[in-house]
């Protein structure tokens, strides 16, 4: 075969590989939409479940997921962004800094079900929070920390060092330079990282399994110490534990969760592109 033909074959194969990547996501979204769209209506999104969850709505699960995401954000963002600022701007290369980085890398590798068990022992049992939004949020927050810290640190490091030098030469302290120049410039990247981390937390089942999720609650949670339903766990439950569950409701629940997570993902991607274009340096 001529070399030209071989190149065409090669590029064709590579293109096919790339297209194959698109197929799974199309399949997932397609199947969930086709099978679940029938269940989506106003009642589904705003009513409580009825008749052993085979009818009615999934509103408490939606609310629960939103509350957990909010709780995760409140716990993980200050620690994560603060930690990232420390690592990017103040830390020098000592054994302590290296230990911190090693810890972050390892945190990222812990399986989510292990986080669930950890959250159970530490927050639910030892610290006596009981299965609660508080325990669930803290567990999810720890799980999300590595993503938030690493994307925030990367965003901070992407800001040219010259800005800090200029700020210092104009009589600024280290912190003034960070607050007035570096942080605002890094903010889009930091926020994108936050959104990506949070949407992962929103979709996780295992960490909330032991720490917060309720099989069925006839009312909305009243305090952070309350249990709550949540979309991922709810989906698991109605797909495996409830006999006679109409499949449309299962797929409808999956569709809601997917829509929530994917739309956050799209928002984050659009934000990232928008700010990269607007960047003047």
């Amino acid at each position: 075969m001529s070399r030209y033909r071989m190149q065409r074959l090669g590029f064709g194969l590579l293109t096919a590989m790339a297209l194959i990547v698109v197929l799974p996501i199309l399949a997932v979204v397609g199947i969930v939409v086709v099978r679940g769209i029938g269940a989506i209506n106003w009642e589904f999104l705003t009513a409580m479940p009825r008749e052993g969850m085979t009818a009615g709505g999934i509103m408490p699960a939606i609310v629960g997921t939103l509350l957990l995401t909010l709780g995760t954000a409140l716990a993980a963002i200050p620690v994560g962004v603060g930690g990232a600022i420390y690592l990017a701007e103040y830390a020098r290369d000592t054994w302590l800094t290296r230990a911190i980085r090693l810890a972050i890398v390892n945190l990222a590798g812990v399986p989510s079900v292990v986080y669930g068990l950890f959250g159970l022992s530490l927050f639910v049992l030892f610290l006596n929070m009981g299965t609660s939004i508080l325990a669930g949020s803290l567990t999810l927050a720890i799980m999300t920390l590595p993503i938030i810290i690493s994307t925030a640190e990367e965003a901070l490091r992407a800001v040219p060092v010259e800005f800090r030098t200029v700020s210092e030469s104009l009589g600024g302290t280290r912190w003034q330079g960070i607050r007035n120049v570096v942080l605002p410039q890094a903010l889009p990247g930091i926020i994108t990282g936050m959104i990506l981390g949070l949407l992962r937390a929103a979709g996780e089942t295992a960490p909330i399994l032991f720490t917060v999720a309720a099989f069925y609650l006839p009312r909305l949670p009243r305090s952070p110490f309350d249990q709550t339903m949540a979309l991922p766990y709810h989906l698991f439950v109605i797909s495996t534990q409830v006999p006679g569950m109409p499949s449309e409701i299962q797929y409808g629940t999956a569709l809601v969760l997917l829509a929530l997570v994917l739309s956050l993902n799209v928002v984050a991607t659009i934000m990232r592109r928008h700010f990269r274009k607007r960047r003047q340096w």
Binding site: E162, F163, S167, E168, S169, G171, G172, V181, Q280
Partner: protein
């Protein structure tokens, strides 16, 4: 031509400086007179930029450096313990080789220093902006677009903006490290022209980007070679009849 003994603004006494094992300066003693342009010139690696950064202590953050000797600004030891670094840098401004506008508008760039120092009064800030941009010979070109992005300016204008930015703090000393190296001849001329006017009020220490520039602007000159101060003297004399052979060789282009 300065005939009487000028007041010494900066006194560098027997300073040796090293980055790790690399000796950048060896036993340098130098007086920089007030309200004049002192030029530090010499081939690359001579230690000129290090001298500049010693005066506003911008090298403090670099790790693994050693310093011996003292530096006095207006009679005060700037390396004494407890010296307020931000305050020092407001007294000693620095302009770098590449124009480095901060993200933001022209106005925001100029008021950055004063704002950090606590100035909030809008009228005073407006005054500062006009005064500094005028001193940097940029006011006429930007007065109608102060709230445009600083990045919309040309390279020469950006560099004059950086000068205005430093002047906004009304420093006593202005340090310039090859400020015109990225600029075309017209912008270079404009910057040099503003330096002539600025020296009536400020002490200026300049690392030139060419020997010709050194010759044009220097009231005093100091020749640095491989970390050592070879010779100092009035500008006119240094570039026409230097006393040391090394200086002569460098000026005539025997080495570079």
């Amino acid at each position: 031509m300065i005939t009487e003994r000028a007041e010494t603004k900066i006194h560098i006494e027997d300073v040796s400086y090293a980055y790790g094992d690399n000796e950048a300066l060896r036993h340098v003693t130098l007086d920089i007179p007030a309200r004049a342009i002192t030029v530090l010139f010499g081939p690359a690696g001579g230690g000129k930029t290090t001298v500049l950064r010693l005066i506003n202590r911008l090298n403090d953050l670099v790790e693994n450096t050693t310093r011996l000797g003292k530096v006095y600004l207006g009679g005060e030891d700037i390396y004494a313990p407890g010296v307020d670094l931000p305050a020092l840098r407001r007294r000693v401004g620095m302009v770098f080789a590449l124009p480095l506008p901060l993200p933001g508008t022209i106005y925001e760039n100029v008021i950055y220093g004063p704002r950090l120092a606590g100035e909030r009064n809008a009228a005073r800030l407006d005054e500062i902006v006009e005064r500094s941009l005028t001193q940097a010979a940029l006011w006429d070109e930007v007065r109608d677009r102060l709230h445009a992005s600083a990045y919309a300016l040309s390279g020469g204008q950006q560099q004059r903006l950086c000068i205005a930015r430093s002047l906004a703090l009304e420093p006593e000393v202005l340090l310039l490290d090859e400020p015109t190296s990225g600029l075309d001849p017209i912008s270079t001329a404009k910057v040099e022209q503003s330096l002539y006017e600025l020296k009536q009020q400020y002490t200026i220490v300049l690392v030139p980007h060419s020997i010709q520039q050194a010759g044009r602007v220097a009231d005093y000159a100091a020749f640095f070679l491989m970390g050592e101060l070879v010779e100092t003297g009035p500008g006119r004399q240094m570039f026409t009849a230097p006393q040391r052979k090394q200086t002569q060789d460098y000026i005539t282009g025997r080495f570079g």
